[in-house]
Subunit: 339 residues, 4 copies
């Protein structure tokens, strides 16, 4: 055995997502170790630490910083708790991988941008993992190559098996379409200009308080109109798919794959049941590339600026949802810092 | 050989579509013979008759009627020439299979309805052949069975290789979406309540005068919102596909089929290049079932009433296209005659 | 209505297959009518005639001939009853479509060939309907075009849901592989040179007396080795598929098609349950083209010579099955009559 | 940054495969570092070390052992050089991941088994990476579950784009079918009893000295007959696929996946071009799990015993290839050490 130098990561939040990242970093990512769990809930913290040899639990990010326990943080708490973690972490010049959203609204996102700009270079990468999914990458290359002609429109579907108790209408936008608010501009190569939301016929199997599914239209500044079927109680499985229409062809990603079985009168291919299998490889690649970049003093993925733009689009989306109108999305001028 | 009694069909219009029907009736449909070609263009008429042993050419439908040359007519001229054929044919009590549209506008369609109601029963069947396509039929059965829960929404795509000189913006609606105006209510089990049209980014490969593709939203009285990507210069092929979203699942029709070949680095399945191969079986079934029904004194497919409703939806669609607004579709009260 | 001249067909055998053909001829095939049912079983004959207006029942083919009731016969009895129908039908110079096999053995097939050669030209077409299946046709074109390089090998699978009481081991060859004995030479463009059969692990769900499935290797004179998995109690459905390996690629036919549904955790496409849906279009096309050819004084499909060669291959196959050895197939010299 | 304890791996052989593993271990595998490159060719060794900060080059495995530079070795040289690496590595009690084959023949494999049995427990894992491919794993689970009934037969295809200069007939068996010799018993749960090889029609695009493709039949002691189309100059791509036939169904792995594009008249899905993309995830998982197991003092994959059995099957395969006969495979009695 040899002693090697590894990036010390503090995972903030020991819920489902945090635990998944701890396992990832310790068992599949090269060059990084979880050295701290930041979690106010003591039971959760203990459970996480028990499975993470060498890691120490802290109640607050400030404590971990003070103890000089981490080089970097992976923020895996709910979005409304991000700002109070991001600001001290930035002040301590830690590298940051922040699960989406950056923050829940554009105002708080702007505060984060300001704090980050006091540093020498961007320190925050936002966890929009779709950018690391092989099929999204292939689709983006097809757009950039022009091989199928110019991109005309995107038909997106985001389908979940079911939602839990706390899930309310606005979360269709802020929890699910939030991914399209990142990936559509990334695919198209142009920011979102406006958002419009129409309610679809209600799924009677959804919780009674929810208008599920809905239909979102996203227009980019370059004039590409994308639509999103957001549908979170469709029972049969978890499915994220996009059909991209070009001038000379059509591309499809998110098609079913894997072992196919003829039985009981039909050909069957299992569909994903949640995001962890669907985006398993994307998460691994995202964290590995972030770790590698951090060691070079860089980030390698969506920045806080991208996070801010998504926050602005989410605000517009929630307003569009409430009013039924097309809502423009406005941004501050992009700082040279994020060029 | 034996003498058998066959339905005498006059094919009106000896263009591409008419010629296709002549071949069908004479070579693939049982119990019917083309005995008349009604076509004012003499060269065309002669060419058609030359390939139809036993058939006689007439310049006008009235001449064929007067000559007692036909029991039934299959109208395959452009839509604006339908009314002057339909009215005398109805008066002569002929059975009628009329290619879509019934007529180009609701006012003329209403005149046809009135004329038809002077007879003892519906004599007109409209050629919305998708209703005879095996996959559309399977999809409708899935809706009716409730096996996948209630129907929530339909994503439709209608893609053509390219359009010719006379094809203008309104024809995106009246020539292509016209099929969805029939099939959406048929699948959903509810009439169209409103239509909305948004222009998509223009395909630079389309003729310069055309805003192609466009995005049409169709809402039914029952609250199902269907969308249609209408896209008629997409180069790669001819494709009509529908994704139906249910409460518990998703169904797809119009998927690629047939021989699959691995070559030159990829797996390839040929796509259709025009409607004649895509809907070949549907056309055959439609005409055979119409012939069988006519012999029983019935029709067996969409009626003139369906044709009228589609004409009304087309008018709303063209207005929606011009104004950018959602346009309601209004109908007269449905006569008991069409119950 | 008009009196037209139609081919008068006598359907011999009013079982499952015969009844299917009666419906086809009367309801989907143009230019032909069933005018006679030849069936010794009186109950069956009456039932068939009741559904075939204008048709007359005869106990024996000779009676139908004597009554001058038919221009052509479609023979749909079990193979062992073919010769006594074919010989008088040939003598009467009737056109003949004979369901496979021509006869059960090469000796009787040779007697049929001899009788046919007394006529001016071939009168018998054998019902190997796969030659009319669109995918088999596409595959043959790919072979002939050379676009994927030379043909190297064929992997064939022939799977049935289950078999009945009378089905014994030799029928794996004579009832099922019989189709590959026709289609393999047709695809390859070379006759069968030898047959070898290996028993596979027995399916415990097959009847106890059956060695099912088996694995058949067919070598053509041109050196193409095809293999066939013959598997007739596989429960899940009916499946006939071929993978053709070329010098530069691989083609697959018999892939699942039609409506695809995501439900209950998986993507599902219904598989065929019997040959009637799988080859429905092929049967229709076969009979229509035969009727058209008969009117021109021709046949338009596999001849009695093809039927004889298949009979010879079946004999070799049954011997190979019994002995476990590779068995050569020998043919008489091909008469110029069948050139 | 923190100092952590990592497994020190010596990669033996700095060719294509070795370089791929160095990248993997240093950039994607957690808990291990490449500390030594063992490679007699100085230029290659220098190139490898230049890309592996902290690693030292050694000419021979003995030198790396003497320098106490490694805890484990990953052997990535051609098979004929394995034994001289394995024996000293075993003597030094190193953990070993040995690329296939263990050794080129059963006699040398037995010598390795003997040397290994002098240790307290198995130290060698053989690099049959298919066992770590998600679809092979799913297929094995389907076999074990019995959900589709008993396993009847396997149709395997192993297709390569093309082969290089040194590739000769026997390598069809020892380089390619070698994988099926491991995976077939692993899937079936029973050792190989016999091998038979038939030459297929020669691909004229293959090198002139090669009888390519060939057809291999593998029978297990439990009576499952698997066949393998081994085809290494098929031009279009790299494809490893298996169709497993069960009593009640059929499963397929190795189907095309990923982005699908309609263009130029067809639907297209890119096929793999070599094993590195096809089995990328399998290689990563294999090495990560081996590293994790080594730290627990175990192996976690095929053992030297499996490697020996494959060597015996390869010998039988080469003999079967040369003689055209079915050749039995015989093994020594399995030592309790490998139980
Ligand atoms: Mg790690
Ligand atoms: Mg006809
Ligand atoms: Mg008929
Ligand atoms: Mg590492």
């Amino acid at each position: 055995m040899t002693e090697t130098t590894e990036l010390r990561i503090g995972v903030v939040g020991a819920g489902l997502m945090g635990a998944d990242h701890v396992t990832r970093i310790n068992h599949r990512v090269s060059g990084a170790t979880v050295t701290a769990i930041v979690e106010p809930d003591e039971a959760r913290a203990s459970a996480a630490v028990a499975q993470t040899p060498g890691a120490v639990a802290f109640r607050r990010i400030e404590d971990a910083i003070e103890a000089d326990a981490v080089d970097a943080v992976l923020v895996a708490t709910p979005g409304r708790f991000h700002e109070p973690v991001l600001l001290p972490a930035l002040e301590a010049k830690l590298a940051i991988l922040c699960e989406k959203p950056l923050t829940p609204d554009s105002e708080s996102s702007l505060r984060v941008l300001e704090a980050e700009q006091r540093l020498d270079r961007p320190h925050i990468q936002v966890g929009f993992m779709r950018r690391f999914d092989p099929e999204y990458i292939q689709l983006r290359r097809l757009v950039e190559s022009g091989d199928a002609g110019g991109l005309i429109t995107l038909h997106c579907a985001h389908r979940n098996q079911k939602t839990g108790e706390g899930y309310v209408d606005s979360m269709l936008i802020t929890d699910s379409v939030v991914h399209e608010f990142d990936i559509v501009p990334w695919l198209v190569g142009s920011p979102i200009a406006s958002v419009e939301v129409r309610k679809l016929k209600r799924n009677t199997l959804a919780p009674s308080w929810l208008n599920d599914p809905q239909f979102v239209m996203i227009e980019t500044e370059s004039g590409v109109l994308a639509n999103v079927e957001i549908n979170v109680n469709i029972q049969f499985g978890y499915q994220v798919a996009t059909e991209a229409v070009f001038e000379k062809g059509v591309a499809q990603i998110g098609r079913s794959a894997g072992i196919g079985v003829f039985r009981d009168g039909s050909f069957q291919v299992a569909e994903h049941q949640d995001f962890r299998t669907r985006f398993s490889a994307a998460y691994d690649t995202q964290v590995q590339r972030w770790v590698d970049a951090v060691k070079r003093g860089e980030i390698d993925g969506p920045s806080a600026w991208d996070g801010y733009r998504v926050a602005a689009a989410c605000e517009a989306g929630v307003e569009a949802q409430a009013t039924g109108r097309r809502v423009d999305v406005n941004y501050i001028h992009k700082p040279a810092f994020y060029a």
